[in-house]
């Protein structure tokens, strides 16, 4: 077997603005099962970071435990990384982010990691609106521990050993919207043309950005009767819109004549261009987003695309009024402002 991925790349690969070809954003050769949806998501992350001209050392990838949480080893090997405890990625991300607000925080989790053991952490990181991208690679099972049903497995979904799941599932996207997440999207590992612009927009979003990506576990949950199999997802997928992310600096060249096209301007002037497919939905309106999810659920459809976005929120640093500099750049002068200052503070506490 080829244990090492050959170093040769296509000689005509294009360089991004930083002068890197896409392979600069790759990671180690994946050890996941052949055909695992998670590998496709890794490929989309690599593509997004390349297209966003991200300097790898300006990004930190964080994860918990699970096949999904292993994937940071398989992308962006030139970036920082922290593989934390099961379900505890959000607290590590919070700590890191508070210490150095200048990095891009990219969290990867699984449905088990987020919806079971890590649920407590998940809801609070949303509530606090930590500035990060949070991807759940959702396969409806605990892949790493051999495929037990997870909390996102749909009621009635059959697993590989033929057992039907009796419990209702947790819908992570609705939950995120409910808890006030300011960017919520849903996608499918097998649809890179949708997933890549979503990841790019999420990374550009100045607050908590959540993407729930259905990602079939080819080994334990790709059987007939499973609602997370490649075939089932493909048959039931319903996109809100097609999506394109137009970064701030790029010359915007859009045809505003078409009625079905909608532009969402981001905080920095970047555009999200949506070619709407369903009319009764407005991504800027929380209620309509919730309705759209509910409606498609009742029709057994999996709604994908950008579901909801709110540009008008304050991230955790803003709420806590923290220093605007990474802690490691603070000097003695700022950290020890002197006895006069201390006196003043003490006086204020009397």
């Amino acid at each position: 077997m080829t244990y090492v991925r050959p170093k040769f790349r296509h000689p005509e690969l294009q360089k991004n603005k930083l002068g890197y070809t896409v392979d600069y954003y790759e990671g180690a050769l994946s050890t996941l099962c052949a055909g695992c949806g998670h590998d496709s998501i890794s490929a989309s992350i690599i593509q997004s970071a390349y297209e966003m001209n991200i300097e790898p050392h300006k990004l930190a990838k964080l994860s918990g435990i699970g096949c999904s949480s292993k994937t940071p080893a398989y992308f962006l090997s030139n970036s920082h990384g922290f593989n934390s405890v099961h379900g505890r990625m959000p607290s590590v991300a919070t700590g890191a982010n508070l210490a150095n607000r200048d990095l891009i925080y990219f969290g990867v989790s699984g449905d088990g990691d987020s919806a079971s053991i890590g649920m407590g952490q998940f809801v609070h990181v949303i509530r606090r609106n930590l500035n990060m991208t949070y991807i759940v690679m959702n396969n409806g099972c605990y892949g790493l521990t051999k495929g037990q049903d997870s909390a996102t497995a749909d009621q009635g979904s059959k697993n590989k050993s033929g057992n039907v799941n009796p419990f209702d599932s947790i819908d992570l996207a609705s939950l995120a919207i409910e808890l006030g997440a300011s960017f919520v999207a849903q996608s499918f590992s097998g649809d890179k043309s949708q997933l890549v612009p979503l990841i790019k927009a999420a990374m550009n979003h100045p607050g908590f950005a959540f993407i729930n990506v259905i990602s079939p576990c080819v080994t334990f949950n790709n059987n007939v009767g499973s609602t997370k199999s490649y075939d089932y997802v493909r048959e039931h997928i319903e996109a809100t819109s097609t999506i394109d992310f137009v970064p701030q600096m790029q010359e915007i060249n859009v045809d505003y004549g078409q009625g079905s096209k909608k532009h969402v301007t981001m905080h920095d002037g970047s555009l999200i261009e949506l070619r709407k497919l369903s009319d009764d939905w407005d991504p800027l309106d929380r209620q309509s987003a919730m309705n759209a999810i509910m409606n498609s659920k009742s029709k057994n459809e999996i709604l994908t695309g950008l579901l909801y976005m709110n540009q008008d929120v304050k991230d955790l640093h803003h709420t806590l009024n923290t220093t605007d500099k990474p802690l490691n750049t603070l000097t003695k002068k700022e950290l020890c402002p002197g006895s006069e200052m201390l006196k003043g503070i003490n006086a204020g506490l009397r």
């Binding site: 077997m1 991925r5 296509h10």
Partner: protein, 595 residues
């Protein structure tokens, strides 16, 4: 696009770039793998079957395979295919026992071959075992044609040539050496069932400029001079030598002159250096032997004083190109240049010449005095007379002559059996899965990053002293192994089964060289632009699958596939498989007809 028909053997044949480019379609990767396994005898026999002269070609081949080699598209340099062939020849064991053993049962047919170069010798080798009585005519005293008279011994030792010529002569060939065929008419009155003309392109071009006649004692036609050196009629040359011409003959002339006493040998060529016809490695070898190549100089006169050649004058030119890129040499406007010389060798091209073929034998000649020869069957307009090698369409090279020989032999055999010449035998093909288990393949799929290894050369001081001392030493077995490992095994094909594909993207994501895309179908031009990396190399095919469940298709751009097998390893359903494709051109009397 329509789905690719992989049942047509030419599709996968084209993927094996080297084999496809080889005029004789030698199964290159197959023998390279055998060399890596130290199975030199087997590697030799694969070559012998296809190209008849592995030892000769492993040293002298024009190597059309190498510019075609996929490795050259992935990194700087192709695999040293040619020099690996020599490794098989140098290290082989007893090969003769694997060859057909004379005497053969006669089929009562007689064939005359005119000229004992590689083309005729190939016809002899293919037909003799079928029972044909072969009569081989050559004006020289030994067989080999230009391989003997032109290719100098420091590139091709006589012993190597003799060995491989003798393998053929030992098949019971009737040789008529020292026999110049003066009249084809006369030959045709004998009871030959077929005549093959492999007489080469034996006439060197002359240069008729002022002073040529007066200087004639010291002015030589390159190919005649080389033949005279080979047959030891000439043993020395003046100290100062000018070689005119920029092709491989000029390179052989100048290097030979260096060995016969030429201390100051200069090559003078009309065209710019970069556009010379000589192969890059021949130019390098000349430079290594301290031979300057003076370009953009057009010969004007031979300067003779008191009946003695003093040198030549040249006009300096420069190249100008019109809108179509056509080159014109225009005067540079500088004073003429005089270069001293004791001897001048003219190596400015060769021509065919058939003074011995009467024009009333039903063999039609065109306006350039070239015979009309069918490109598929090599038959002339006389159904009994066939042409091949340089005699058919002008000077080419040994491997082309061999390829012609195989096809002409097939035609002669078909003709003698009363069958249609266009009923060509189909190639022998085979496609076998290389899967041995999970993550286990029957071929070494790892891709090494080594850059091309150089072939060591003998000490220049020694080689310049002795015309017969071979310059190249050949790879030793260790270096040969490393060089062999550079081969990407392009014959291990990526075979796709659309009905098994679940469109998980795993192959597309893992492929190091971005060969694989899944997309809606379109016409070829659009498709080429819709891929992960646009497929700009139009000489390389797109492998198009049947429609998949989502109506999309799998498109693989064959251009820079490393044949690493990662796509097949990553595929959860074995929709991809790595299958070894063996393709061999069927030789005379060996196959069934293609239709």
């Amino acid at each position: 696009m329509e789905p690719t028909d992989i049942n047509n053997p030419e599709y996968f044949h084209k993927v094996v770039d080297c084999q496809n480019a080889c005029p004789a379609h030698t199964p290159v990767p197959e023998y390279i793998r055998l060399i890596a396994q130290e199975k030199y005898t087997e590697a030799y026999m694969i070559n012998w079957d296809s190209n008849v002269f592995p030892g000769v070609l492993g040293r002298t081949c024009d190597r059309p395979c190498e510019p075609a080699c996929r490795r050259g598209r992935v990194e700087e340099e192709p695999v040293a295919i040619c020099r690996l062939k020599r490794v098989a020849a140098d290290n082989k064991g007893d090969v003769k026992k694997h060859m057909p053993q004379a005497p053969f049962k006669s089929n009562n047919k007689k064939v005359a071959l005119i000229g004992a170069g590689p083309a005729s010798l190939t016809v002899a080798r293919d037909l003799a075992p079928l029972g044909y009585e072969i009569h081989l005519y050559d004006e020289q005293r030994l067989g080999g044609g230009f391989m003997r008279s032109q290719i100098p011994s420091f590139r091709l030792p006589e012993s190597v040539l003799n060995e491989e010529v003798n393998y053929i002569l030992d098949l019971g060939i009737h040789t008529h050496f020292n026999h110049y065929v003066k009249s084809l008419k006369e030959l045709l009155t004998k009871d030959y069932d077929a005549v093959f003309i492999g007489s080469g392109a034996p006439k060197g071009r002359d240069l008729n400029i002022p002073g040529r006649a007066e200087a004639s004692a010291n002015v030589h036609i390159g190919i005649n001079w080389l033949a005279n050196v080979a047959f030891e009629h000439i043993t020395k040359v003046g100290k100062k030598v000018i070689v005119l011409g920029g092709g491989n003959t000029a390179m052989d002339c100048c290097r030979t002159a260096r060995r016969l006493g030429g201390d100051e040998v200069k090559v003078v060529v009309r065209s710019p250096f970069a556009e010379m016809k000589a192969s890059p490695w021949e130019k390098e070898d000349a430079a290594h032997e301290d031979i300057p190549i003076i370009d953009n100089h057009v010969p004007k006169t031979f300067v003779v004083e008191n009946g003695v050649l003093k040198g030549m004058t040249f006009e300096k030119v420069k190249a100008e190109y019109d809108a179509q890129g056509k080159r014109k040499l225009v005067p540079a406007g500088e004073p003429d240049v005089f270069i001293e010389a004791d001897d001048v060798l003219i190596a400015i091209g060769q021509e065919n010449s058939f003074p011995w073929i009467e024009r009333d034998l039903g063999i039609e000649f065109d306006q350039w005095e070239m015979p009309k020869v069918d490109e598929l069957t090599f038959v002339s307009t006389n159904a009994k007379v066939f042409f091949g090698g340089d005699a058919a369409w002008g000077p080419k090279n040994v491997i082309t002559a061999v390829a012609h020989g195989h096809q002409a032999a097939i035609s002669i055999d078909l003709m003698c059996r009363g069958e249609s010449l266009t009923n060509r035998p189909a190639p022998h093909v085979n496609l076998v899965s290389q899967k041995m288990g999970i993550h286990e393949w029957a071929y070494d799929s790892a891709v090494v990053e080594d850059i091309r290894y150089a072939v060591p050369q003998a000490d220049k001081i020694l080689t310049l002293k002795d015309r017969k001392k071979e310059v190249e030493l050949g790879f030793d077995d260790k270096t040969a192994f490393k060089e062999a490992e550079r081969c990407l095994n392009c014959d291990v094909q990526t075979v796709f089964a659309a009905d098994k594909c679940i469109e998980c993207d795993a192959c597309m994501d893992i492929c190091p060289t971005s060969c694989i895309s899944f997309t809606e179908n379109a016409d070829e031009t659009d498709l080429r632009n819709m891929l992960k990396v646009p497929a700009t190399n139009l000489t390389q095919d797109l492998y198009v699958s049947d429609a998949l469940k989502t109506t999309r298709v799998m498109i693989k751009d064959e251009n820079v596939c490393l044949h690493c097998g990662l796509c097949a390893e990553r595929c959860p359903t074995s929709a991809w498989d790595m299958q070894k494709f063996f393709y061999n051109v069927t030789k005379a009397g060996k196959g069934c007809a293609s239709h």
